[in-house]
Every structure is written in structure tokens, then in C-alpha cells.
């Protein structure tokens, strides 16, 4: 019996969005009497933090503090159409729609400021601190919140904007597969280190270290959350999970988490990452997307590391202790045969 260590790498690209039938998202933005801005969407937050990053994108575009943004999601009576939250599309699509809506609202705000300052619109600038002012004349400056309120009570105007962003449908050529399948691609490279117990066939993942290139990060902590969660899910896919433990037989399928195995806190490896930011040409502020891809490269990296540790190549997931022990037995038998021959 021994514990063998090995290292494996894998590198992947990952596409943002779906091309299948056109991929639209829409957003509305309006100002309230107190000068807050409401972003209205039908898009849904899955717990990944969509509401938060959309609030950041709206705040950035409007030149106000994050706290001034209210994000109203997931209601078909109020929110304009959205395709849905999947395919790593939400931050990219909804973010682009929100920028357009926020810009249109901002234009309306500039009209109010121009009238109030008795200046021409192109003289008005935002300072990024929540104020609009006449360029070069700090004395003629006013809180955006105050201007938004004035729009309602003094000028009787809406401060509102609409935004729609769509990846047009790409028909696939049925003969050659020629298509435009995505908007942009993010990248990852993972180095995994494992320790394999040759007595039990159990694999301990010691570390998952990755580089990610995801375009712009809107919220680095949320990106880190995706990377850690994805590393866990990938490890779980590589070594544990199946709804058909005797695949292709459908028998003995699990009914709950006592039968459906997943790694627990004790099994978690060291997870470390570095994030490169190389902005995309078409995402909001250069976003590419980091939603789905973090569960990808660690899977082959772990499987390659197991080979590096043991010499056993396993080409079917999940890599169970049984498969490793059988592989070790086959290796030993082949070596014995080689020694005899």
C-alpha cells in the first residue's frame, strides 16, 4: 500500500451566450423622487449575484453610488423581456442592456441639468461622485439626486431609459456546421494535485490552482466565489457524482443526498487562482463571463493528475475507487506478464 501523488493540467475556452434563436435581454431604468434609480428586469438572480453586478453596472453608467441603485428583477408584469439566466449570458446580455437604458436615462437628466444651469447640454459633465456640473465651473454643480427630483416636481419630465441587447440568431449550416456560436470566449488553465491511496483507490485532491481570463471583473469577490464553487463542483463531477451508479443500467439511482455522493468540507482542496483581465470587445465594460466555466478545467486536470500519480488512465466519469483499483490490478498484471515475457 502506498499513497501516490501526481499533478495534472488542463486548459479550456468557454463561450458566452447562446446563438440558437437570437439571444435578447432588455432593461428599463428610471429615477425616483429621491434621486435613486430603479433598474427593472425580468431576468432572475440564481444566487450568483446578478442583482449586485447589475447594480454596479448601472451605478457606473449613471455616475452615482452603488447604494442609489435599486434592482427590481423577475416579474413579468413589470420587467421587459429577458431570455433567462443560463449559458453564462446574464452579466453580458443584461449588463449591455442596462448600460443602454442607463445612458438614455442619463441623457434625460442632462436635459434637465442644461435647463437648470442655463447651459448647453454638451457643457454638462458628470464628476463620477454623484454630481453634474458645467464643465470647468465647479460652482455650477448639483447632486444628480437633486436634479432627478427637480425633473419630477419642477419640470414634469421622466428620467427614464430603455435598453435592449441581442445576439442575433445564427443559422447553422447543416452540411459544414458553419456558425457564429457565441459572443466572446473566456479561458482557464488549471493545475490539480492529487494523492491516490493504492489500498483503497481513494483520491484526495490536494490543490486546484487555476488562471482565469474572464474579461473585466465587475465584482472580484463574486468571481472568486464562482471559481471556488466551480472547483468544488468539478471535483465532485470528476470523482463522486452520478445518478446512474451502474450506468448504463438505470437501477439503484439515488433518491437523496445520503445516496448521491458529493465531497464535503473535509474533502475540499486548497483552491487558489489568479484572474487576468483582458476586456472583451462586446461585453459591458469588457465583461466576458465566469458563470459556468469554472467547473470545466479542474475535471480533466484531476483525471490527468491521477494518471500522473498512478499510471492508470481512466476515461470514464466519475473516477471511482473501484475503477482505480481495477486499473492498478491491470497495470500490475501487465507488468508481471512483461517480466515473464
Amino acid at each position: 500500500m502506498s499513497k501516490l501523488r501526481g499533478t495534472g493540467i488542463a486548459a479550456v475556452n468557454y463561450p458566452t451566450g447562446m446563438n440558437l434563436g437570437g439571444d435578447p435581454s432588455q432593461a428599463l431604468v428610471h429615477a425616483t423622487t429621491s434621486g435613486s434609480f430603479v433598474v427593472t428586469l425580468s431576468a432572475t438572480d440564481l444566487g450568483q449575484g446578478l442583482r449586485t453586478v447589475i447594480g454596479q453596472i448601472a451605478a457606473e453608467t449613471l455616475g452615482v453610488a452603488f447604494e442609489e441603485i435599486v434592482v427590481d428583477t423577475a416579474d413579468t408584469d413589470t420587467g421587459p423581456h429577458d431570455m433567462g439566466t443560463f449559458a453564462s449570458r446574464a452579466t453580458h446580455r443584461v449588463g449591455n442592456a442596462v448600460i443602454l437604458a442607463a445612458r438614455e436615462a442619463f441623457e434625460a437628466l442632462l436635459d434637465v441639468a442644461a435647463d437648470e444651469f442655463e447651459a448647453s447640454r454638451d457643457e454638462i459633465v458628470a464628476d463620477g461622485e454623484g454630481n453634474l456640473m458645467v464643465k470647468g465651473v465647479p460652482a455650477r454643480s448639483m447632486r444628480i439626486a437633486e436634479l432627478a427630483s427637480m425633473a419630477q416636481f419642477k419640470y414634469g419630465r421622466t428620467i427614464a431609459g430603455r435598453g435592449a441587447w441581442m445576439k442575433p440568431r445564427s443559422e447553422v449550416d447543416p452540411e459544414t456546421g458553419a456558425m457564429d456560436p457565441d459572443s466572446t470566449e473566456a479561458h482557464a488553465c488549471t493545475v490539480a494535485e492529487v494523492e491516490v491511496d493504492t489500498e483503497t483507490g481513494e483520491v484526495a485532491v490536494l490543490s486546484i490552482r487555476s488562471a482565469y481570463e474572464v474579461g473585466r471583473q465587475v465584482n472580484p469577490d463574486l468571481v472568486q466565489g464562482q471559481i471556488a464553487g466551480g472547483a468544488w463542483m468539478a471535483m465532485s463531477h470528476a470523482l463522486y457524482e452520478t445518478t446512474a451508479p451502474y450506468y448504463p443500467s438505470p437501477e439503484h439511482s439515488p433518491k437523496d443526498f445520503s445516496e448521491y455522493l458529493m465531497p464535503g468540507p473535509n474533502e475540499l482542496p486548497e483552491i487558489e487562482s489568479v484572474v487576468l483581465e483582458i476586456p472583451s470587445s462586446n461585453g459591458p465594460y469588457g465583461v466576458k463571463g465566469v458563470g459556468e466555466m469554472t467547473a470545466n478545467s479542474p475535471i480533466p486536470a484531476i483525471v490527468n493528475a491521477i494518471y500522473h500519480a498512478t499510471g492508470v488512465r481512466i476515461d470514464s466519469l466519475p473516477v471511482t475507487p473501484e475503477k482505480i483499483l481495477r486499473g492498478l490490478d491491470e497495470l500490475a498484471a501487465a507488468r508481471a506478464e512483461g517480466a515473464q515475457g
Binding site: 486548459a11 423577475a74 439566466t85 488553465c189 445518478t243 475535471i299
Partner: protein
């Protein structure tokens, strides 16, 4: 530009985090309405059978029983989620008609005053089934004489006249003949459960104004609303869908399964109806990640360059395709990998079996392709005697390279990402790879990109 950004790029605290960790976030199933009924489903106990009859007489005598709905109660019972974007044919049944195609398929919806009464009534529904041979393996399903799962007579989804999604670039057979090495492998993956903490569910509430408010944890409100409108044959303006915080999706909440039948039940009874999956329904009935079988054949030169790649992939869609036809297209677009390979041939099959349907899951069509592809890259490295870092640099794509799907690469940063990973783990790269970039290759004048 980065220096000018003030809010984007900041790790502001997420707005919903405190609610989650203090238990104050309201999820769909946390809502309660007076007079709310519970919906539980009578499901097929076998993998494949003719459905000859249903007897609910004993179930109707259970105290608290309110109603039983069968296929004839559903106005447009046969549907396809992606018909919204032109995918055909309509193939899945809200409630089974004359055949059940997987163990767990919905047959009768029972409505009762309590969850316990609904479960008791479900257990008392008698099904008259005539079991049929079933198939569970993607290649067995395509063999002559296999049991046919679909209502149109083949076990593959058809892509504009082809039984698979095809990608073709160059001439793989000529390149295999010219290659120094051929590397072939088969890869298999198991079906996987999305495993959200919150199970799939909704509550449909009749409103006084004749509309229906549907509280749902779907990932795609308009997918659900528009499909419900089609299935129930009611105008969309009578439906109001409200989402909110989803307790994990991972693709498992993109299908439209619970809303149409719950809304129909609310219409029939004029009572709020709650239909929330149990954990065993989530695991045994709701869509999984597909099982995959992927064959790779690569032609490789002694210097490590891959000059030809042929991939044949089968995704097990289970009894109904749901979102899986799209998965195969996405798979075919991506399984060539982030590498510059001049000759590529990909056949990706969406195969029907008598398994519980599969559908979307994180990395749809790509994750398992990446597993096969990146293990394959390691094998290629070994065959040509290179280390696993080198083989990836030698083949890495650059901006402007022609991809197998004939779109020129843009936003390619594989090289920079591998360099960053090497630095992170302290792996020393040779100078030529440290100096490499994803910038477009220099081209001879007049050469077509």
C-alpha cells in the same frame, strides 16, 4: 479605462447575502396562501410501457382529495420547450397519453387539501400498463431493432435532415494518412444531478381579476410564461409570473415542467395550487446532465502539431429532448478545443433512450467535451514525447485563426492564461513559450484568413 471605473471592479457586498445567511430570504416554497391545494404526481413505475388505462376511483375516496387531472384535461398536451425559437417537433407530453417512455413520467396530477392526502391518493391510483422493451445505452439505441422511444420512429433528433449536428473543415481522412501518429480514445460520462438546495417548484394563484399569478423558481420567466400560455391555450396577458431568489439553478430550472400543470390545476379548482418537487423527484424525475460517449481520433505530427481531429459524440437525451438538441450544437462548436487544427470533422448525436430526460446543466454541451478533449491532449503529449504544457502551446489558437465552425477566433487568450497558470504554480516555461502571445499570426500577403 480601468482607472476611470468607480463601481465596476469593486467587491461591493452582495445585496442578498445577509438575507441568505440569516434565513430571511423568501424562496418560492416559503409562500403560503389560504385555501392552497397540493399537487402530487402519479408517475410511471416502469421505464417503457403502453398506458392502457387509469383508474382514480379509489383515490377519489381519500379524505381531502379534490381533483385528478389527466392528459385529456390539458388543452395543448404535446409541446416542446424550444418551440418558442422554432425547434420542432412537439414531442413531450404534459401528462402521458398512450405511452410512458421513462420511469417517473407524469401520468395523473392529484390535487388535495394536504400534502399527505395528495400522496395517499397518488398511491391509490391504479395504472393499467403493458410493459415494453426499453433501451438505456446511446449506441444500442441507434442499432437496428432497438426499441423506438420517440413518436416519429427514430431515436435521434434530426438536424435539418441529418441525424447529428455536423461540423466539417478541411479533409480529415487525407490528414490522417499524412500524420505521424494516430491517437484514438473513447470517453464516457455519467448523468449528473444539478443538485440545487431548493427543489424545482411553483405556486399558481387565481386572482380576482381573472388572471393567474405564478410564483416560480424558474431560471427563465418568459420561457415558462410563454410555454404555459401555449400549453393551456390562454393569452399571455392572463399570466403573471413572479420569480425572485432562486435557490440554485445550474441549468436544472430551465425546463418548463411544474408551471403549466399547476396553473391548469388553479384554473380548474379556482384555488391556489402548490407543486414543489420532493428531493427524490428532483433526483429521479427532473432533468439531469446528459450522459456522454465521445470518440476522439487525432492525427498528430512528430513535432506535436495536431493536423486532424475527428470526434463522434452521443449525448443521452433520455425520453424527451427538452434543451438537449441545443447542447449538441454547442458541443459541436466547441469540442474541437482552443487549438488550431486545420482538418476537423465532428458528428454530435442527440440520442433518445428510456432514461429520465436530461437537459441543461452548467457548461451545457461543453463541460464533458472539455473533459474528453483535455485528457486526449495529455495522451497526445505522451505519444509524441512532450510534456503536457508544451503540447498545448504548440497547438494553441491565436486571434484570427479559422475555427472548425469557420468563425475566426477573437478574444483568444489561451496562451496568456496558460502562462499565468505556470507562473501561479511555479512551473518554469521555456523562453519560446514565455514569449508567445495570442496575437494574430503573421500571414503571407494575399493569403486568405
Amino acid at each position: 479605462m480601468t482607472a476611470e471605473l468607480k463601481v465596476v471592479g469593486q467587491s461591493v457586498r452582495r445585496t442578498d447575502g445577509l438575507g441568505h445567511v440569516t434565513g430571511r430570504t423568501q424562496f418560492t416554497a416559503d409562500r403560503h396562501f389560504s385555501g392552497m391545494l397540493h399537487l402530487k404526481m402519479v408517475r410511471s413505475p416502469v421505464h417503457h410501457a403502453r398506458l392502457l388505462g387509469v383508474d382514480t376511483s379509489e383515490a377519489e375516496r381519500v379524505p381531502g382529495f379534490v381533483a385528478a387531472l389527466t392528459a385529456k384535461d390539458v388543452p395543448h398536451n404535446r409541446y416542446t420547450i424550444l418551440s418558442l425559437i422554432g425547434v420542432e417537433p412537439e414531442e413531450e407530453f404534459v401528462l402521458a397519453e398512450d405511452r410512458v417512455r421513462f420511469k417517473g413520467e407524469a401520468i395523473v396530477a392529484i390535487l388535495a387539501e394536504t400534502e399527505a392526502a395528495a400522496l395517499e391518493a397518488v398511491a391509490k391510483v391504479r395504472l393499467h400498463l403493458e410493459e415494453l422493451p426499453a433501451v438505456f445505452d446511446v449506441e444500442e439505441a441507434l442499432a437496428p431493432g432497438a426499441p423506438i422511444v420517440t413518436h416519429w420512429g427514430t431515436n435521434t433528433f434530426m438536424y435539418e435532415g441529418h441525424p447529428c449536428r455536423r461540423v466539417r473543415l478541411g479533409d480529415v481522412e487525407a490528414a490522417f494518412a499524412a500524420a505521424d501518429h494516430i491517437v484514438e480514445s473513447r470517453y464516457d460520462t455519467s448523468p449528473i444531478e444539478q443538485a440545487p438546495i431548493e427543489t424545482t417548484g411553483c405556486i399558481a394563484v387565481p386572482e380576482a381579476n381573472g388572471r393567474y399569478t405564478v410564483y416560480t423558481n424558474t431560471q427563465a420567466l418568459y420561457f415558462s410564461l410563454d410555454n404555459t400560455s401555449i400549453i393551456l391555450q390562454v393569452p399571455g396577458n392572463r399570466l403573471h409570473f413572479v420569480g425572485g431568489t432562486v435557490g440554485g439553478g445550474f441549468g436544472g430550472k430551465v425546463d418548463v415542467i411544474v408551471e403549466p400543470i399547476a396553473t391548469l390545476a388553479a384554473m380548474k379548482t379556482n384555488r391556489p395550487v402548490r407543486f414543489v418537487y420532493s428531493r427524490s423527484e428532483e433526483m429521479q424525475v427532473s432533468s439531469t446532465r446528459s450522459a456522454w460517449r465521445i470518440y476522439f481520433k487525432d492525427g498528430v505530427m512528430n513535432d506535436g502539431r495536431i493536423i486532424a481531429r475527428k470526434v463522434t459524440s452521443y449525448a443521452d437525451s433520455g425520453a424527451y429532448s427538452r434543451q438537449t438538441p441545443y447542447s449538441l450544437t454547442k458541443h459541436a462548436a466547441n469540442v474541437g478545443g482552443p487549438y488550431a487544427i486545420p482538418n476537423v470533422s465532428i458528428d454530435a448525436y442527440c440520442v433518445y433512450t428510456n432514461r429520465q430526460p436530461s437537459s441543461a446543466m452548467r457548461g451545457f454541451g461543453v463541460t464533458m467535451g472539455s473533459f474528453a478533449l483535455e485528457v486526449q491532449m495529455d495522451k497526445i503529449a505522451e505519444v509524441v514525447g512532450m510534456d503536457p504544457w508544451t503540447i498545448r502551446f504548440v497547438n494553441a489558437y491565436r486571434n484570427g485563426d479559422l475555427r472548425p465552425h469557420r468563425k475566426h477566433a477573437e478574444d483568444a487568450t489561451l496562451i496568456e492564461t496558460i502562462q499565468a497558470a505556470a507562473e501561479l504554480v511555479g512551473h518554469e516555461l521555456p523562453g519560446e513559450f514565455r514569449a508567445m502571445t495570442s496575437a494574430a499570426r503573421e500571414r503571407v500577403d494575399g493569403e486568405a484568413r
